[in-house]
C-alpha cells in the first residue's frame, strides 16, 4: 500500500529533474520496463496477474488493482514499488534496483499523463483473441454456388489419405432415408418398388417424395421440440396438466411440413403475437417461449415474495437460455452469476436478455382474438338471457322466501357459539367438531355444526344423518349472508349474486346449517316448498384443482348431494320439501383434500311454493319460460370455448431488470436495458431503452437473431440438420458454438450450407436435399479402409456413414408400423397412455391398453415431466427439463428388459404375429413376411432354418418377439 511519506520524499529528491524535457516513452520507458519488469510481469510469468509488456496490460493492472494512475504519480503503485525499501514490497525484488534517474523518468512519465503510444505489439495485445473465434466470424460467401457437399467432404478426406466407402445398397438406403426423414421404416412394398426402380433418378425421386410427406414434419418437429424442452405438464412439485400445449407442437409440425422459412419460424416463435396478432398460427408459435418447466408453487402458491422472485428468476433464465442456445448455440446462462468464463459475454448482456422477456409470462392464452371476442359476447348474451328468464320464472312461480334474509344484513353466524356477528372470521382453531351448536338469536335457524364425517353427524336434536362425506373437520369464517372472508368472486354462471336483486349465503367447508321449517312456514305462509338456487365457489381460478362436496338434508333424508365438485363447477338446486318436514339442512364439506379454497356459497337460495297457484296464461308462459331457460342453458353448455394455447402472455407491466449479483435475485445491481450480446457483431447489441414496449423488445431481438449477417444462426441450424443426418454434426456440440464447444470438422462446408440456406430463402428442405443426395450420405456404414479407424476413429472425415441406433420415438413408432397397428391420425391433443389421478401432485400411472388411440406416433404422446414414461426413458428419451441438442445413447440391461418384457412390446409382438399370419399362406412365407416387415429383407438360408425351428417349437409369436428385439431392427446401417 502506498505510504505517502515515503512518496513525498522520493518526489522531493528528484524534484529538480522535473524541469527537463517531456519523457519519450518509446526511448526511455518501454526499454526500462522490458529490462526490469517484463521477465516476471510479461507473457512468461505474469506474477500477480500483472503484465507490463503491452499498453492494455499495464492499464488493466494486476491482482491488487491498477498500477499506474495517469497524472498522479503519488497514487501509482508502480512508482511506489520501485522506490520503497521494504523487503517484501520492493521491485525488482532481486538484482539491481532502478537508478535515481530511471525512477525520476517513471515519475515524470506518470505525471505527464502516462502517455503510451501504441505499436503493433500493443495493438495485438489489446485484441481479445476470443473475438477471433471461428463461429463469430462472418459466414464466408466466396465458396461458389456451383459446389456440392461432396467437394468439401472429399477434399478433407483425401488430404487425410482416406478412401470413402462405396454407395450403400438400395435396401439400406431406403431404410436409412425413411428413418432419417420420417422416423419410420419403409413398407416391404416401398422397398421392393425402390429396389426395382430402373430410373437413374430413383433415389432423388424418393428423397422428394419423403420430403413432401406429412410424416417428415412429424419426425423433424421432434428434434426441434428436444431443444425447446417441450412437455405437456408444468413439472416441479405440482406437475399439473397443460391441456393446451399441444397446439404449439402442431405448429412446429406444420411449419416443417410447409417448409416455412427458418427465419420466419424463429421470428414467430419469439414474437409471433406481435408480428401478426391476427394470425392464430403466429400467436401459437410463441408456445416456444413457454415450452419449458414452470413451478406453480413458487409462482403462485407460496405467500413469500422472496420465493416468488426466485421462481421468476428461474423462469426468465429458462426463456433466455432456450432462445439463445436453440437459435445461436450460445451458452448464455453461463453469464448468470458472473461474466461468461469462456466466451466474451458479460453478465450485463445476459440480464439485458432478461429485459427482453421481463414483460412476458407463461400461461394459457387465446390464439384468435376475433374468435375469443365472439365467444365472450355470445356467452354474455346467453347468460344475460338466462338471468332474465330465471327472474321471470321466479316471478311467475311465486317469489318465495329468501333464506339469506333470515340473517340481519351483512352478518354471519359464529360457528363456535351460534351468535350473530358482523365480524369476518378466519380459520377456527378452537372448534368442536360434530357438535350441534344451537342458534337462538336467528328465528328460522335451529343450529350450526362442523362435521368430520367420521363421528355421527346430528343435524338437529335426535336427528342423526348418514352420508356426510369424510372431511378434515376444519372450518373457515361464519355462515354469512355476504361474501366470505377472502372470497374472490361472487359470480356463478355469469350472474353476480352480490348484485342487486340477488341474495347470497356463504357456507365455507366444513359446516352445516339447519333451518327451522315450521318457523319459516309461519313467517312466509308457504306450506309444501321447493328449495331452489345455485351452489358454487368464490375461490380464485388458481385453486381450480381443489374439491368440495355439498349435501342437502330434509329431516334425516339426504335429498341432494354433489361430491368432489371442482371450483369451476356449479350445481343447480331444486329440492322438494313436503309440508310436514321439520328441518332443512345444508352441508358443505371439503372433498377430502383439506379446506383450502373451499369458499362455497349459494346464489339466490330460496324456498318457493311447491305448487304455485297460477292463472292459465301464466302457466303457459311459465312453461315456455322454463323451456327457453333449458334451451339457453344447453346453448351455454355447448358454446365451444375458443382455441387456446400454452404460450407467452404479455403482462400489463414490464418490470425493469437489474443485474443479479452472483445470480441472487435478492442482491440486485445496475439497471439494464434490453440487449443481445456484442460478441456476434453483425448488429448492435443494444436493442433499445427501457421505454421500448414489451412486444417490440422481442421483435427486435428476433430480428437481431435472424439477421442475414448473424454469423451463428444459419451455421447453427444447418449443423443441426447435418447432425441428425449423420449422427454427429460438423460441429459436434450443436448447442455450443462457443470456446468451450467443438470446432467444425469442415468449416467451409458449414459456411457453404449456411449460404445455401440463404440462397434458398431460408427453406430447410433444399438443404436436406443437398445433404441426403450427397455421396457422403449415401455411402455404406461398413469400414472399407482398414486404417481409417486409426487415422480418424470418430469418423469426422466421413470415410463411411455412421451406423446409428434408433431413438426412443423412432423405435416405438417402428414397432407399431411393423405390427401394422400404427395410427397415423395427425395433430390434436396428445394421447395419454397413463391413468390420471387428480391430487395435490397429480398421479400418472402408465398403462398399455389395447386402444388404437395409444398407437399414434410418439410425437403425439402427452409428455409428463415428473413421471417420465419408463419405457421411453430406458431407450434414452431425454428428460424434458433439459434442452437436448443431441440424444445420448446407452446400452443397458434395463433396456433389454424393457424391449423383451414390457407389455407394449409383447402386445405388439402378438399383433405382428397375427398380421403375418393373415398376410401369408404358408409357414415359409410367414417367415419371409416377418423378415420383410421387420428388416426390409428376406431371411438368409440359415436364418430361415433357425426361424422354422423356432416356429415349430414356440409359434409365430416367439419369432416376432425376437425380431423386434434384434439388433438389426434397432440399428440403421
Amino acid at each position: 500500500m502506498p505510504r505517502p511519506a515515503t512518496l513525498a520524499f522520493s518526489v522531493l529528491a528528484f524534484a529538480p529533474a522535473l524541469l527537463g524535457a517531456t519523457v519519450d516513452f518509446d526511448r526511455e520507458i518501454r526499454p526500462l520496463l522490458r529490462e526490469k519488469c517484463v521477465e516476471c510481469h510479461g507473457p512468461k510469468k505474469n506474477k500477480g496477474s500483472l503484465r507490463l509488456d503491452a499498453k492494455v496490460h499495464l492499464f488493466k493492472g494486476g491482482e491488487s488493482g491498477p498500477v499506474v494512475v495517469a497524472g498522479l504519480p503519488a497514487q501509482s503503485p508502480l512508482l511506489e514499488r520501485v522506490t520503497t525499501e521494504e523487503e517484501d514490497q520492493k521491485m525488482p525484488p532481486k538484482g539491481e534496483r532502478l537508478s535515481a534517474e530511471q525512477v525520476q523518468k517513471i515519475q515524470q512519465w506518470i505525471a505527464e499523463g502516462a502517455v503510451w503510444p501504441e505499436n503493433d505489439a500493443d495493438r495485438a495485445a489489446a485484441r481479445d483473441p476470443r473475438l477471433d473465434h471461428w463461429s463469430v466470424q462472418p459466414v464466408q460467401t466466396e465458396l461458389g454456388a456451383a459446389k456440392s457437399v461432396d467437394d468439401f467432404v472429399e477434399a478433407k478426406r483425401i488430404s487425410a489419405g482416406l478412401t470413402a466407402a462405396p454407395e450403400a445398397d438400395r435396401r439400406t438406403l431406403i431404410r436409412r432415408l425413411s428413418f432419417d426423414l420420417h422416423g419410420l421404416p419403409p413398407s416391404p412394398e416401398q422397398v421392393e418398388r425402390f429396389v426395382q426402380d430402373p430410373d437413374p433418378r430413383a433415389y432423388e425421386n424418393l428423397v422428394d417424395q419423403l420430403l413432401a410427406s406429412p410424416r417428415y414434419g412429424e419426425r423433424w418437429a421432434r428434434h426441434w421440440l428436444d431443444i425447446a424442452h417441450y412437455a405437456d405438464t408444468h413439472g416441479f412439485e405440482r406437475d399439473q396438466l397443460r391441456p393446451n400445449a399441444w397446439r404449439y407442437r402442431d405448429y412446429v409440425i406444420a411449419a416443417f411440413n410447409a417448409d416455412k422459412p427458418y427465419d420466419q419460424f424463429v421470428r414467430e416463435q419469439i414474437a409471433g403475437d406481435v408480428l401478426a396478432p391476427g394470425d392464430p398460427q403466429s400467436v401459437t408459435a410463441t408456445g416456444f417461449l413457454a415450452a419449458g418447466p414452470w413451478d406453480f408453487v413458487g409462482h403462485v402458491e407460496t405467500k413469500s415474495d422472496v420465493l416468488k422472485r426466485a421462481a421468476r428468476a428461474g423462469d426468465l433464465d429458462d426463456m433466455v437460455t432456450q432462445v439463445m442456445t436453440s437459435t445461436m448455440a450460445v451458452t448464455m446462462n453461463c453469464a448468470r452469476c458472473h461474466d461468461h468464463k469462456l466466451d466474451p459475454i458479460t453478465q450485463q448482456e445476459y440480464y439485458g436478455l432478461w429485459a427482453v422477456f421481463s414483460g412476458v409470462k407463461r400461461s394459457d392464452r387465446n390464439i384468435d382474438a376475433a374468435a375469443e371476442g365472439l365467444y365472450n359476447s355470445e356467452k354474455a348474451r346467453l347468460t344475460k338471457q338466462l338471468g332474465v328468464l330465471r327472474a321471470e320464472i321466479a316471478r311467475l312461480s311465486g317469489h318465495g322466501f329468501e333464506l339469506a334474509s333470515l340473517l340481519p344484513p351483512d352478518s354471519g353466524i359464529d360457528r363456535r357459539n351460534g351468535t350473530v356477528t358482523k365480524e369476518k372470521q378466519g380459520y377456527y382453531r378452537d372448534l368442536r367438531t360434530n357438535y350441534l351448536q344451537k342458534v337462538d338469536k336467528v328465528p328460522g335457524v335451529l343450529a350450526v355444526f362442523v362435521p368430520d364425517g367420521k363421528s355421527p353427524v346430528f343435524v338437529a336434536d335426535k336427528t342423526p344423518v348418514k352420508g356426510v362425506p369424510e372431511s378434515s373437520g376444519h372450518a373457515w369464517d361464519t355462515i354469512a349472508n355476504r361474501p366470505l372472508n377472502a372470497q374472490r368472486g361472487t359470480q356463478l354462471n355469469g350472474a353476480d349474486y352480490a348484485g342487486k336483486g340477488h341474495s347470497l349465503l356463504g357456507l365455507h367447508a366444513n359446516g352445516g346449517i339447519t333451518f327451522d321449517l315450521p318457523a319459516i312456514q309461519e313467517r312466509s305462509g308457504l306450506r309444501a316448498m321447493r328449495l331452489t338456487g345455485v351452489v358454487g365457489f368464490g375461490a380464485a381460478e388458481a385453486a381450480a384443482g381443489t374439491r368440495a362436496d355439498f349435501s342437502v338434508y330434509v329431516d334425516a333424508e339426504l335429498k341432494f348431494q354433489r361430491t368432489r365438485m371442482r371450483k369451476d363447477e356449479t350445481a343447480v338446486l331444486d329440492v322438494q320439501i313436503p309440508a310436514e318436514a321439520k328441518t332443512l339442512t345444508l352441508v358443505a364439506t371439503d372433498g377430502g383434500d383439506g379446506i383450502g379454497s373451499d369458499l362455497l356459497f349459494l346464489g339466490d337460495p330460496k324456498l318457493q311454493p311447491a305448487d304455485p297457484v297460477l292463472t292459465g296464461v301464466d302457466e303457459v308462459r311459465l312453461k315456455a319460460a322454463r323451456d327457453e331457460a333449458r334451451a339457453t342453458e344447453a346453448a351455454l353448455a355447448q358454446l365451444a370455448e375458443p382455441a387456446r394455447v400454452y404460450a407467452a402472455v404479455p403482462q400489463a407491466e414490464t418490470p425493469v431488470i437489474r443485474v443479479n449479483r452472483r445470480g441472487n435475485p435478492e442482491d440486485t445491481g445496475v439497471e439494464v436495458t434490453p440487449s443481445a450480446f456484442a460478441w456476434a457483431k453483425h448488429a448492435p447489441a443494444a436493442l433499445g431503452g427501457n421505454d421500448l414496449p414489451e412486444g417490440q423488445r422481442r421483435k427486435v431481438l428476433a430480428d437481431w437473431i435472424v439477421h442475414p449477417k448473424n454469423p451463428l444462426t444459419r451455421r447453427v441450424i444447418v449443423n443441426r440438420l447435418w447432425h441428425h443426418h449423420f449422427g454427429q454434426g460438423i460441429v459436434t456440440t450443436p448447442s455450443d458454438f462457443g470456446l468451450g464447444g467443438d470446432r467444425p470438422s469442415h468449416p467451409e462446408l458449414l459456411d457453404w450450407l449456411a449460404g445455401e440456406l440463404l440462397r434458398n430463402g431460408w427453406r430447410l428442405k433444399p438443404v436436406h436435399r443437398l445433404i441426403v443426395t450427397s455421396a457422403a450420405y449415401r455411402q455404406s456404414s461398413q469400414r472399407m479402409d482398414p486404417k481409417a479407424e486409426n487415422v480418424d476413429s470418430g469418423n469426422r472425415l466421413l470415410w463411411r456413414q455412421n451406423p446409428r441406433r434408433l431413438d426412443a420415438e423412432s423405435l416405438r413408432d417402428a414397432v407399431l408400423a411393423t405390427s401394422g397397428k400404427l395410427d397415423l391420425t395427425p395433430g390434436g391433443p396428445g394421447f395419454k397412455d397413463f391413468d390420471y389421478t387428480e391430487a395435490y401432485a397429480p398421479i400418472y400411472r402408465y398403462v398399455a391398453h389395447e386402444k388404437p388411440e395409444l398407437w399414434r406416433r410418439s410425437i403425439y404422446r402427452f409428455i409428463v415431466r415428473t413421471t417420465p414414461h419408463r419405457f421411453m426413458s430406458a431407450l434414452d428419451c431425454p428428460d424434458p427439463a433439459n434442452l437436448t441438442p443431441a440424444r445420448i445413447r446407452t446400452t443397458t440391461a434395463i433396456q433389454a428388459l424393457a424391449l423383451s418384457n414390457n407389455e407394449f412390446m409383447l402386445r405388439q409382438a402378438r399383433h405382428l404375429a397375427t398380421r403375418v399370419e393373415n398376410e401369408s399362406a404358408a409357414r415359409s412365407e410367414a417367415i419371409r413376411r416377418a423378415f420383410a416387415l421387420a428388416f426390409q429383407r428376406p431371411p438368409t438360408e440359415p436364418e430361415q432354418r433357425a426361424a422354422e425351428t423356432l416356429l415349430s417349437e414356440q409359434g409365430l409369436f416367439a419369432l416376432c418377439r425376437a425380431l423386434l428385439n434384434a439388433n438389426e431392427f434397432c440399428y440403421l446401417d
Binding site: G235, F236, E237, P293, D295, V297, G298, T302, K303, S304, V306, L307, A310, G314, T331, C334, D590, G592, D593, S735, D736, G740, G741, R783, P803, A839, Y840, I843, T866, T867, P868, S873, D879, A881, N882, I888, R889, T890, T891, T892, A893, I894, A896, L897, S900, N901, E903, L906, P942, E943, A946, A947, T949, L950, L959, A962, L963, N967, E968, Y971
Partner: protein
C-alpha cells in the same frame, strides 16, 4: 462367482467379455459394466472418472426424509426456544414464511436428553437412534436455496434447484462404476405410499448417460422387484423354458448381424446387455427375497409392524443390496403431499407436528436404528456411508399446531465409512431459525461424501452446454471435522 447361465444352455460366446463374466464382481465387474454400459454413451464429455485417492467407503445408503424434517424437535437442541415458549417470534410482523406469518416461539414437542459417551443431545422422538449416537456425525448448519419442496428436493439431490441435473447417486456411479455385474449400481427404494415431491427426477441422471439413473426397486413385496423383469399379466406363460428358444434365436440373429459389421462395437455391447438382463432375472429376486433372513433380523427391522414394517423392509433391502455390491442406495422415508389424509404422507407437518412427526419419527427411528445396528454387527458399517437428510428444516415459530418450511437451517447426519462418530459441525442461532456458525449447503455434504468414496468433487466433471458440470457446481468443501 459361477452361477449357471440363465438359459441353462452351453455358452456360445467366447471372448474377452466371457472372461469378465467369469470374474463376476470386483475389478472384473467394474470393467464389465464399463464395457456394457458406458463405452458407447457418447464418450469424450466426461473426465475425472475413477478413484482420486484411497476411499474410506465403498457404498452409500442415503435415507431421505422428504417434506422437511423439523430439526428443532429432533437433532438440534435449542433450550432457549423452549424458554421463549409462547413469546412473539417476530415482534415487527415483517417476516413471511412459505405459507404463513410466524406464530409465537414453540419449543421442541419432545424433551431432549444427552446420549452416548459423546453426550450429544437428541430428542425423545428417536430412542433407538439415540442409542447409536456415538456412530453419528451431525451437520447442524445445513441450508437450502429454496423453501419449496420441488426445487429444494432437486437441490438436495443434485445441487441445483432446477430439474435436469444428475443426482448424487448418478454422479457416484458415473465416477466409480459398479461393484457388481448382477445388479444396477444405483438403486432407489421409494416409500411404498408413493414417490417423493418432484418424482423420479430426484434420482435422474440429468445429462449423464441414462445408465447412471437410479433403478427403482419395487418395495411392495407383491410386485416383481424391477419393472419388466419378467413378462406380466397374460404373457406370464413366457417365463421359464418358453423364453429360452426365443432368446437363442435372437442370439443367432444378432451374431450373424454383428459378424458382417465389424466396425460397430455397440452391437456386441447390446448382445451383452441381453445376457446381463438374463442375469438380473436371477439376481434381483434373490436380492429382494427376505425369507432367508433370521427371525432376529426380522424383529430388529420390525418387518411385521403395520406402519413401521414397510420402512424396515426398505432398510433391510438396502443392507442386502450393499452386501451384494450395489454402489448407491437411496431410501425414501415419506412420499408426496397427496391430499389431507389422517396422517401427512411425509414430514411436511404444517398443521399437526406432534401427529405427523410422531408417526414418521417412530418409522425412521426403528428402520434407521436397525440399519446402523445391523451394518455394524456385520462389519459393513466401516465401508458403508450412511447419510440421513431432508430438503430443508422447519421454523422454530409455530404455525398453529405445526411448523412452516425453513430453508435457513436443518440438520443432516452421517455415519459409517470414514465418519468420526459422536461429532457435530456448525450450529444454528439460539432459536434454530438460521444457520450461523459454519453454514453448509448440500454442496459440502456432497463433497464430503464423494471424498469418502475416493472422489475429488472438483475433478469429477461432465461437459454439458458450454460448461464442465460438477455435482457441487462451483461450491463445496470437504468437512474435515467430521472425518475419522
Amino acid at each position: 462367482m459361477n452361477t449357471p447361465y440363465p438359459c441353462q444352455r452351453q455358452r456360445r460366446l467366447v471372448g474377452r467379455r466371457d472372461f469378465l463374466w467369469e470374474l463376476g464382481g470386483g475389478l472384473g465387474g467394474v470393467a464389465l459394466s464399463a464395457l456394457l454400459q458406458e463405452a458407447h454413451a457418447d464418450s469424450g464429455q466426461g473426465s475425472g472418472k475413477g478413484l482420486h485417492h484411497a476411499p474410506k467407503a465403498k457404498a452409500v445408503i442415503q435415507i431421505f426424509c422428504p417434506g422437511g424434517l423439523s430439526h428443532v424437535d429432533t437433532w438440534d437442541y435449542k433450550p432457549e426456544l423452549s424458554r421463549r415458549q409462547g413469546k412473539p417470534f417476530d415482534p415487527d410482523g415483517k417476516v413471511q414464511f412459505f405459507a404463513s406469518k410466524p406464530g409465537n416461539c414453540q419449543g421442541s414437542y419432545w424433551p431432549f436428553r444427552q446420549h452416548g459417551t459423546c453426550g450429544r443431545w437428541i430428542s425423545d422422538l428417536f430412542p433407538k437412534l439415540a442409542g447409536r449416537v456415538d456412530d453419528m456425525a451431525f451437520i447442524h448448519s445445513m441450508q437450502s436455496k429454496s423453501a419449496l419442496h420441488g426445487p429444494a428436493m432437486f437441490m438436495a439431490n443434485s445441487g441445483f434447484i432446477l430439474p435436469g441435473f444428475p443426482s448424487m447417486g448418478a454422479w457416484v456411479t458415473y465416477g466409480l462404476g459398479s461393484e457388481t455385474a448382477d445388479l444396477p449400481a444405483f438403486v432407489v427404494l421409494p416409500d411404498p405410499r408413493g414417490l417423493p415431491p418432484g418424482g423420479v427426477i430426484n434420482w435422474g441422471s440429468g445429462f449423464l448417460p441414462a445408465i447412471h439413473q437410479g433403478t427403482t426397486l419395487n418395495t411392495d413385496p407383491a410386485q416383481p422387484p424391477i419393472d419388466d423383469l419378467f413378462p406380466e399379466k397374460d404373457f406370464a406363460h413366457l417365463r421359464g423354458p418358453a423364453e429360452l428358444a426365443g432368446r437363442d434365436f435372437l442370439n443367432t440373429l444378432n451374431r450373424a448381424h454383428a459378424e458382417t459389421r465389424a466396425a460397430n462395437s455397440e452391437l456386441e455391447a447390446r448382445i451383452g446387455a441381453y445376457e446381463l438382463a438374463a442375469r438380473l432375472q436371477l439376481s434381483a429376486p434373490e436380492a429382494t427375497d427376505l425369507r432367508g433372513e433370521s427371525e432376529a433380523t426380522r424383529k430388529l427391522y420390525q418387518l411385521e409392524h403395520e406402519d413401521i414394517g414397510p420402512f424396515g423392509r426398505q432398510c433391510l433391502l438396502a443392507r442386502r443390496l450393499v452386501e451384494r455390491g450395489v454402489r448407491f442406495v437411496q431410501i425414501y422415508c415419506g412420499a408426496e403431499n397427496t391430499g389431507a389424509k389422517k396422517i401427512r404422507p411425509n414430514w411436511d407437518s404444517h398443521e399437526d407436528l406432534v401427529r405427523d412427526h410422531g408417526y414418521w419419527g417412530a418409522i425412521l427411528d426403528s428402520g434407521a436404528g436397525a440399519l446402523l445396528e445391523d451394518l455394524k454387527a456385520r462389519g459393513l458399517l466401516d465401508s458403508t456411508l450412511v447419510i440421513c437428510t431432508s430438503e430443508f428444516g422447519r421454523q422454530p415459530a409455530a404455525q398453529g399446531k405445526g411448523r412452516d418450511h425453513n430453508s435457513g437451517a436443518f440438520t443432516a447426519w452421517l455415519a459409517g465409512g470414514g465418519i468420526r462418530g459422536g461429532t457435530a459441525y456448525g450450529s444454528t442461532d439460539d432459536l434454530g431459525a438460521k444457520a450461523v456458525e459454519k453454514p453448509a449447503y448440500c454442496y459440502d455434504l456432497h463433497a464430503t461424501a464423494l471424498h469418502l468414496l475416493g472422489i475429488d468433487h472438483e475433478k469429477l466433471t461432465f461437459y454439458n452446454s458450454g460448461i464442465r458440470r460438477r455435482l457441487t457446481d462451483v461450491h463445496g468443501h470437504v468437512i474435515q471435522e467430521l472425518l475419522a
